[in-house]
């Protein structure tokens, strides 16, 4: 039994990291905006803003409760050459991303988006909104106040959310298999483990990838927890 990774396992590891990094990088800016909007969207007397907030919350949280395969199926419908995103990409960029690692990154971004938004939203909610009002009173516009006050104060929550979302991306299976398939040299860690377990003697072979997955998940959870605690203590100081 060797501890060295096989070429197939290396390929799965590097692909998973590439997919995770791209998924988090692409979803971070919209997640920050949505989290901020949800955190600062105060209760209104009118039904329309209340309903809009509820609808936004619902759309954001949906991938959290939907079976990942269903999310993957919906993405597949969007990414096929005749689908809304597939058609747009084909016409504008002349590319087809279904069954490429880009599609896996999109699937990971969609599935990890609710986790990212929730963690960042909590960070924004823990900041006294009057600090932004104080900044506005000192001459800062709303965008300036956001970038100079709110975002720097929430940055530990933002990093904690990014770490959690990255870990979730590494573990993503259901949606990824729908849009990436499972072909040799194009498998993420979960897809590689699944593929190995379907081969004779594969159960014994996949322990290295299982161990890596467990270690990465533990590290991500510990790092996220530590960052959230730091954010909390900073607010108390």
């Amino acid at each position: 039994m060797t501890v060295m990774l096989s070429p197939e396992e290396w390929s799965a590891l590097t692909l998973s990291f590439r997919v995770g990094v791209c998924a988090v990088a692409a979803s971070l800016p919209p997640a920050i905006l949505v989290a901020y909007a949800l955190a600062r969207w105060t209760t209104s007397r009118n039904w329309l803003p209340r309903a809009t907030r509820l609808a936004l919350q619902l759309v954001v949280d949906l991938p959290l409760v939907l079976p990942p395969v269903v999310t993957g199926y919906l993405l597949l419908l969007c990414l096929v050459p005749g689908g809304p995103i597939g058609l747009l990409l084909k016409r504008v960029c002349g590319v087809q991303i279904l069954f490429t690692w880009w599609a896996a990154a999109i699937a990971s971004a969609v599935v990890s988006f609710p986790l990212l938004v929730r963690t960042i939203r909590l960070a924004f909610q823990n900041i006294d909104p009057r600090l932004e009002l104080a900044a506005r009173g000192l001459g800062a516009g709303p965008i300036d106040a956001f970038f100079s006050i709110s975002l720097p104060l929430a940055y530990q929550g933002v990093i904690a959310g990014a770490v959690l979302a990255f870990a979730r991306s590494l573990g993503e299976f259901g949606a990824t298999i729908m849009v990436l398939g499972s072909m040799e040299g194009r498998r993420t860690i979960p897809l590689a483990i699944y593929s190995l377990t379907n081969r004779p003697g594969g159960l014994e072979q996949c322990w290295r990838l299982v161990l890596i997955s467990v270690l990465l998940a533990c590290f991500a959870l510990a790092a996220s927890e530590w960052l959230e605690r730091r954010q909390y203590h900073r607010e108390l100081a």
Binding site: R45, D128, R130, L131, L133, A134, A135, R136, G137, L138, G139, A140, G141, P142, D144, S148, I149, P152, L153, R234, E235, A237
Partner: protein
């Protein structure tokens, strides 16, 4: 010649109805009243933090708000320096960072404010490199006052600046406040529920109760008989 004309009505969902109208002609005008009478709401309306249901606010001849004409300047455009009860210093910036926040966001057309002079008058030189969490209550109050001054305000709005301080510290801060008010001669609205503070600092005082102005005049007359020195409204009734 009045520097502030205000006539506003606002109803909170919880029930308190504010209907205030007054003109401020003296440099330091006190606002006296019990907790929950609408004193802070009044300052928030002027600062642009709270938008009243209807009314007008004119500061130094410029309309800040006129609901009939659809005028509502953003807080950053009003150029009023608001000092909050709990200071609201930016925790991620040093004292100097806090002081320079408003200074760096002033328009070039506004008259310059001498950073060194403000630091000297309020004795802040030793504190410049320190983070706000390491400051005492009195030091925070001085930094907040300096930060408001450095934003080049046309008016200062002081919301219970002495409430959270013990008696010796309060006496020291009173000296700093008097120094600032006499040196910069900025029109000031000073909210307090302690009669003695207004007798010492204000030239004119309005009394607010349940969202309405119920009296106005020199502090010695308005706050004369029924309110003993150093006693708050609530203790006196």
């Amino acid at each position: 010649m009045s520097w502030l004309e205000l006539d506003c009505r606002h109803r909170y969902p919880a029930g308190l109805e504010i209907d205030v109208a007054f003109r401020a002609e003296h440099q330091v005008v006190g606002v006296f009243g019990p907790s929950g009478s609408g004193k802070t709401s009044l300052l928030s309306m002027i600062a642009g933090v709270l938008r009243p249901d209807e009314g007008q606010i004119v500061l130094a001849g410029q309309p800040l708000l006129d609901t009939r004409r659809g005028i509502a300047l953003a807080p950053a455009q009003r150029r009023v320096g608001m000092l909050f009860q709990d200071h609201l210093l930016f925790p991620h910036l040093s004292v100097e960072g806090n002081l320079r926040y408003g200074l760096s966001r002033r328009r070039s057309t506004e008259p310059p404010v001498d950073f060194a002079r403000v630091v000297q008058v309020l004795e802040l030189r030793e504190l410049l490199a320190r983070p706000p969490r390491s400051l005492s209550g009195g030091e925070k109050q001085r930094v907040a006052l300096a930060r408001a001054l450095l934003s080049g305000p046309r008016a200062l709005l002081l919301d219970e600046p002495l409430t959270a301080l013990d008696q010796p510290l309060k006496q020291r801060i009173l000296v700093y406040l008097e120094r600032v008010l006499s040196q910069w001669r900025i029109p000031t609205l000073l909210v307090s529920h302690v009669a003695a503070d207004l007798r010492r600092l204000a030239e004119w005082t309005i009394v607010i109760d349940q969202g309405r102005v119920v009296a106005g005049g020199p502090p010695a007359e308005v706050l004369a008989d029924e309110i003993e020195p150093e006693k708050s409204w609530n203790e006196s009734r």
